[in-house]
């Protein structure tokens, strides 16, 4: 049993970059754990959230000065592409808030494992001065940018990711240099409202780390 959201006309324009439907895995979660649900409830919620998040994504996109529009996953999460400047513009757009930058990839299992916890964190802190920004490194191991974006969009839909993601298209060197990376992903960096690094986690975050973040955000 799969639950699909019929595409709207604006969604159809970006069809190539959209995950076509919630994959069976999430659908089976719904059917086994919570009984069968009609398509309308999740679709209504997804569309409402999608509209808000797509708007946020478009603002960030216009600030970044990039020409191509962002994709949006079925969960509503904007999927942007770009190099360091794009990440920096997204960080700048969130100045005044605490920002957790999560560097990850769909091919990285520890990254995948921590995604539900990050999604829950973003949800719990949605009314607080906090933003989560994902940086996907899927494009680092493929030559096909569109395919990497599709993969991330599909993943974001599957895991109900509601925060923006940048599919990084720059070099590993630039990324390592900009964020002083150790080479291990996931790496998560917490920035304070002034944009200064306040904390950093190399490897998947544990509940204690997430508790620490929750405590820090006013």
């Amino acid at each position: 049993m799969t639950t699909t959201c019929p595409a709207t006309s604006s969604q159809e324009e970006d069809r190539a970059l959209l995950a076509p439907a919630l994959p069976p895995r999430m659908a089976s979660h719904r059917s086994t754990k919570h009984g069968r649900q009609g398509a309308s409830a999740p679709c209504f919620r997804q569309r409402g959230t999608a509209a808000v998040l797509a708007l946020i994504g478009l603002v960030a996109w216009s600030c970044g000065g990039k020409r191509e529009p962002p994709a949006v996953s079925t969960s509503g999460a904007p999927i942007l592409t770009g190099e360091i400047a794009r990440i920096d513009s997204l960080l700048a757009a969130n100045r005044g808030k605490w920002v957790l930058l999560n560097i990850w990839a769909t091919w990285c299992r520890p990254c995948v494992a921590e995604t539900p916890a990050l999604t829950a964190l973003a949800h719990d802190l949605r009314n607080r001065p906090f933003a989560l920004v994902g940086v996907s490194l899927d494009f680092l191991v493929t030559n096909a940018e569109a395919a990497a974006v599709r993969k991330v969009a599909k993943f974001a839909g599957e895991y109900q990711v509601l925060y923006s993601n940048v599919v990084y298209t720059g070099s590993a060197d630039d990324l390592i240099g900009r964020f002083s990376l150790s080479g291990v992903i996931p790496t998560s960096i917490l920035y304070d409202p002034q944009g200064h690094e306040a904390d950093r986690w190399v490897g998947a975050m544990v509940d204690e780390d997430l508790r620490r973040i929750r405590q820090r955000i006013p």
Partner: protein
């Protein structure tokens, strides 16, 4: 609406709880420090996919030795397979011994099991020994952080280069080849231009008991 929201968020919440329990296994043991330049190559005795057991002395070349921590499952490591074969083809006849070691916890990553390593070695026709460090004791001595992560030793088995093979998993995008530069310098008897680089890839999958013992 409240009930709908609760239903929608229960799935990620439950998954989050389960994920948090699994996460601890992916941290680096504090004792696994990357071997530093100038240190001697730690010895080992490990089974290979070819059925033999190799010690460091069996691998070492007269001019130098290249030890590469890699694995089966990681897309980054997979992207470098052909380059490792090419490096071996080129540098082994020049006196550089080469071995690849996989040390990931096969219980959590079944693609990295010894049986799967044998399949990969046969399928890709590996021309270097592909060793299995099941206990992770060798990895603890070398301290790789990711796969692939390389350690190049000179003829006296002293570490002269550690880090990445080059700067891009996509071969067409490669601009810097630090390992090749180090190998060329080593063979020419010149100083290594860049002795350390940040290896990028998939983290080493340490066993939970090793992580636990290191915490105590």
């Amino acid at each position: 609406m409240t009930q709908r929201r609760r239903r929608i968020w229960t799935v990620p919440m439950v998954a989050a709880g389960a994920a948090i329990l699994l996460m601890a296994a992916d941290r680096t043991p504090p004792g696994a420090e990357e071997l530093t330049i100038g240190k001697a190559a730690p010895d080992f005795s490990l089974p290979a996919t070819d059925g033999k057991t190799y010690a460091l002395a069996d691998i070492a070349g007269p001019k130098g030795t290249l030890v590469i921590f890699t694995c089966n499952h990681c897309p980054y490591a997979i992207a470098y397979q052909d380059r490792i074969i090419a490096l071996t083809e080129h540098y082994r006849p020049l006196g550089i011994g080469v071995a690849a070691i996989s040390c990931n916890d096969a219980k959590s990553y079944p693609d990295d099991s010894f049986a799967k390593m044998k399949e990969r070695a046969a399928e890709k026709k590996f021309i270097f020994p592909y060793l299995y460090d099941e206990s992770q004791s060798v990895a603890l001595k070398y301290g790789p952080r990711v796969t692939p992560h390389v350690f190049l030793f000179d003829s006296t088995r002293t570490l002269v280069y550690r880090g990445r093979i080059d700067d891009s998993a996509k071969e067409k995008s490669v601009k810097k080849r630090e390992l090749t530069d180090a190998l060329e310098a080593l063979l020419a008897g010149k100083p290594i231009p860049t002795a350390t680089t940040v290896a990028f890839g998939c983290s080493i999958k340490w066993k939970s008991d090793i992580l636990e013992s290191k915490k105590q």
